[in-house]
Amino acid sequence: MTGAGFAALLSHWRYRPLQLATLIVGLALATGLWTGVQAINSEARSSYARAAAALGQDTLERLQSKVGRPIAADRFVALRRAGWLVSPVVEGTLRLGRIRVRVMGIDVFTLPQRATPIGPSGNAGIADFVAGDDLVLVHPETAAALVDRDLNLRTSLQVAPGSLVADISSAWALLKRQDFDYLMVAPNQPDGLAPLSEIAPDLKRVAPDPQGDIARLTDSFHLNLTAFGFLSFAVGLFIVHATIGLAFEQRRTVIRTLRALGMPNRTVILLLLAETVFLALIAGLLGVVLGYFIAALLLPDVAATLAGLYGTSVPGSLALRPDWILTGIAIAFGGALLAVGQGLWRMARMPLLAPAQPRAWAMASLKNSRWTALAAAALLLTSLAMAWLGGSLLTGFLILGTLLLGAALLLPTLLILALRLGARMARSAMAEWVWADMRQQVPGLSLALMALMLALAANIGVGTMVESFRNTFTGWLDQRLASELYVSANSEAQAEDLRAFLSERADAVLPIRTTEVEIGGLPVFLYGIADHATYRNHWPLLERTENVWDRVADGDGALINEQLFRRGGYRRGDRLPVAPGWTEEIVGVYSDYGNPTGQVIVNHDKLMGYFPDIPKLRHAVRVPPEEASAVAEALVEELGLSPDNILNQADAKRFSLTVFDRTFLVTGALNTLTLGIAGFAILANLLTLSTMRLSQIAPVWAVGTTRASLARLEMLRTLALAVLTWLVALPVGLLLAWVLLAIVNVEAFGWRLPMFVFPMDWLRLLALAMIAAGLAAAIPVWRLARTRPASFLKVFVHER
């Protein structure tokens, strides 16, 4: 009995393969996008963890200069001779042909044991690293890019991509240096050593960082991705829900028969559950495969974005990791059960022999729609309240979630209201029928239309944010990168030569002096600048006191960047604790896009008075723009400066904009995919509706309307619904953009952006929406146009 019943239930799918395909593809798409995003996040996180663990940085204390100077080589020897178990590290970046690499030089003799993978206990012997062998450890991916280099490479998966690990002597040769950036401190030290505060008062101990700066900095980026992944999943779930609901309704007769034959309701429900689990398993596996391909496709862009934004290195290739594979399948199950839950619930309470008629279903949905409208209103109010209260990044995303869900739930009600208005304007019986029939269609299509609305709103919102950001960013770059050349020296002696050399060739050589301080427990970069028109005329200030530049020039005030301003909750005029025993009034706030950390700008001389040891190496150089490249060449050829030490304004701008565009490439791709899913949802719904609607269309055909004009009307109706949906999506999208710009960006990155609107993009989206809906309607309409008259007649034969 149970077996036969199960077979009877399953036979539904045999007769409706398209519906089965819709269900599985819908669930697989939803799972796929979600899994893809998770796979990207997982790959990036594992890469951060590897970077954080490189050389034991996650477990080992460091000793570094209090003012950010390098540590002389003999300081290391002196500390060892005093008994301290320390080990030196030199770090730097290097351009090798096409790629930039991070070089880490280590002392293989004194490396603490936890600083695997190298050293006496690691996979290579000491001798391989020194005495002319100069072994360099690299990730296999990096090695592939360096094959033509004259380096003794050995691959190691322990090394982060984009990094080279070598002995101090080899690293020094590559970086052209003779000193260290910091000393690693072994976790256990012998007793009875002289305290470091006595023998190395200029060095500070820095606690190990189990998470790593990178993971922290990129958190908001990954949260963004996750939010989009979730949105895609939600859109996909709408499809599944609609399809499963429909399948339930269509199988009402089968179920009625099974029940009449004596099968208990519980058994029927269990059988349907088993069917769901089976389908979810198939769809989940498909989704994970799909997710893998999506992630593999997007990962190179994400990697480039992360490298540009945060300087992190994530491999461009994807590893299969059980975490996202299992989550993917689990979420497919969760989604399917969520979608089937409502149907099962309704069925469990439905009268035994309730008639299965489309109109009855629609009427039931209509009654439901009052509740959904109420729920929508509640969600929108919640969203408003949260926007009012504000607070955190999570709140930001919750606002987005409630706004989108609320708007989606409100959509059917809005559409029906709009259609009622339309019906009032109807002048002929035919027109009245068209309006009424559209209204009749809304419940069946509502989930697909909701999905379309979400996709459109997300497109408008994200597009507006990205374009607003880009506009602001481009203008800001022009202001911020006002100097023609940025030049750094390798040593103080070279810096002096450099200044002497430039004094005759440049209009101005502006010192850039910087050191790291701690404000409110977080690292902040403190800059000293000289008074110059370059700053007075160009620097992008968001807030300013009167005479702001005079006050900075007099050493009577500090400028801070927007990130620090917002994070610290400061107001203009507050006093900022710059360093122990030094506070400065905040006289201005400047925008500082793309920078994850806080910044403070003070008078150059005041900074150098306070931190006399800051290296004097970096300079901004003002020259007539047409002479910039000649001066840069002269610096290389006459002064012998490495080209890597010179950055010209045009290159810097181009690089920044490239990074910017790549950053939002991924968002754009996810957006397009979401829109694609919504289109598919409409197709799925129209397909299933088309068979059911035959009984409603047949009388209209019978009174003389041709099949062709019926098909035309059908197409028009779909397009009209798409336009109406777009009209609703527009304000929702703009609200979304506002939330992104004014709440999410502020919380995630620490800057607020002005909002610009781009009506041409909206029209483009309208066209896209109509194309998507039109394509989705094409098959059902074509089928309608080809329906044999006999089929129409059968409706009357089978009239229930």
Partner: protein, 353 residues
């Protein structure tokens, strides 16, 4: 001699070491000098390093007692290993240094190690005035200028859970092993330069987790350098130095081989410091019952016979678990002798898998 060959191990990867005899001591010596017969050692110069030889060590072992008569063993070793046969040059590390320190009691064994490259001052040896150091460990001469630089020493070392600070005074002359300091290690002629100062009396302090103890006793310093001291077939060795109660001393070793008989060598030193060398076969070293040490079987009891000196003794480890948990591990610890002669000394065993 002794382990001491260990120095080379830092040159080798773990697999390389297994493939080429213990700690890579069977490797070839291209470009390096090799010990030659007829060479005369010159002091104080030869107290200092010989960068054109591949390996070298300054190896001190001491048998000590505290006021209650409790036995202690103490080790301080500095190994030099050359990657290239030239003196140090900045950070390029043609010379490398490794040091071991240990303290042994009847039931505890403390050991630690340090590494450094040459040429940067973190580790090194100066001949006159004599000083050998790595990090804050050192072995420094307390002799006046013009005297033998090894006649009086100050030695310190420090690990995470132990440290010591001892002063040594020699009551006898330096002793050259083999033929005027040329000590042959195999039938095929591998050899090293090898001399000792076995006549130290020691006073000083040892710090252990249980507290500080004042100690005194005897110590033995070995100086040895070579470029290829082992035949490639030789897999390890058993070496010992003995202070007998009558004032005489014995150095002996046995080299084990895959393909040939074991190779033995000995030096008998009378209380006045007169040395007599004995070639292969004169000294008989027979391992007794083994102990489970660090997951392997190691003989911690030996029978030693040297017929020419009417010597027939059994030596037994003070602590059978005197295992050096260092990069390349080995057994090194104090022993007590009974039989025709009574006394104490140090035993070293390497190459036990």
């Amino acid at each position: 001699m002794s382990v001491r060959f260990l120095a080379l191990l830092i040159v080798m990867t773990a697999t390389g070491a297994l493939a080429q005899g213990f700690a890579g001591l069977g490797t070839k010596s291209e470009g390096f000098s090799v010990p030659e017969p007829g060479h005369t050692l010159v002091f104080p110069d030869d107290h200092g390093p010989h960068p054109d030889f591949r390996i070298e060590w300054w190896y001190l072992t001491a048998n000590l007692n505290d006021g209650n008569g409790t036995d202690y063993g103490l080790q301080w070793t500095l190994f030099r290993s050359a990657l290239l046969p030239k003196a140090d040059n900045g950070w390029s590390a043609s010379q490398t240094w490794m040091a071991h320190a240990a303290v042994t009691t009847a039931n505890r064994h403390f050991s630690t190690e340090r590494f450094s490259r040459g040429g940067i001052g973190q580790a090194g040896v100066a001949a006159n005035p004599f000083s050998a150091w790595i990090d804050d460990w050192h072995m420094t001469s307390r002799s006046a200028a013009g005297e033998d630089q090894l006649a009086a020493l100050h030695v310190t070392a420090r690990g995470l859970d132990f440290s010591y600070d001892i002063k040594l005074t020699a009551s006898g002359p330096l002793v050259l092993h083999g033929e005027s300091g040329l000590s042959v290690k195999s039938a095929s002629g591998q050899a090293s330069y090898y001399y000792s100062q076995p006549f130290y009396t020691v006073t000083g302090k040892i710090n252990l987790p249980s507290g500080q103890v004042e100690v005194s006793g005897q110590a033995w310093l070995d100086r040895e350098w070579s470029s290829q001291p082992l035949d490639p077939d030789q897999t390890g060795w058993d070496w010992l130095s003995m202070h007998f109660d009558d004032g005489s001393k014995l150095m002996g070793f046995r080299l084990r081989s895959r393909s040939a008989e074991t190779y033995t060598s000995a030096t008998w030193i009378d209380p006045a410091g007169k040395a007599t060398a004995y070639g292969d076969g004169a000294l008989r070293m027979v391992p007794g019952p083994t102990q489970r040490v660090a997951d392997r079987e190691v003989p911690t009891v030996w029978r030693l016979q040297l017929a020419e000196r009417d010597l027939d003794i059994t030596i037994e480890a003070l602590n059978t678990q005197s295992w050096m948990e260092t990069l390349v591990p080995y057994w090194e610890g104090p022993v007590i002798a009974d039989g025709s002669h009574r006394g104490r000394g140090y035993l070293e065993m390497t190459g036990y898998q």
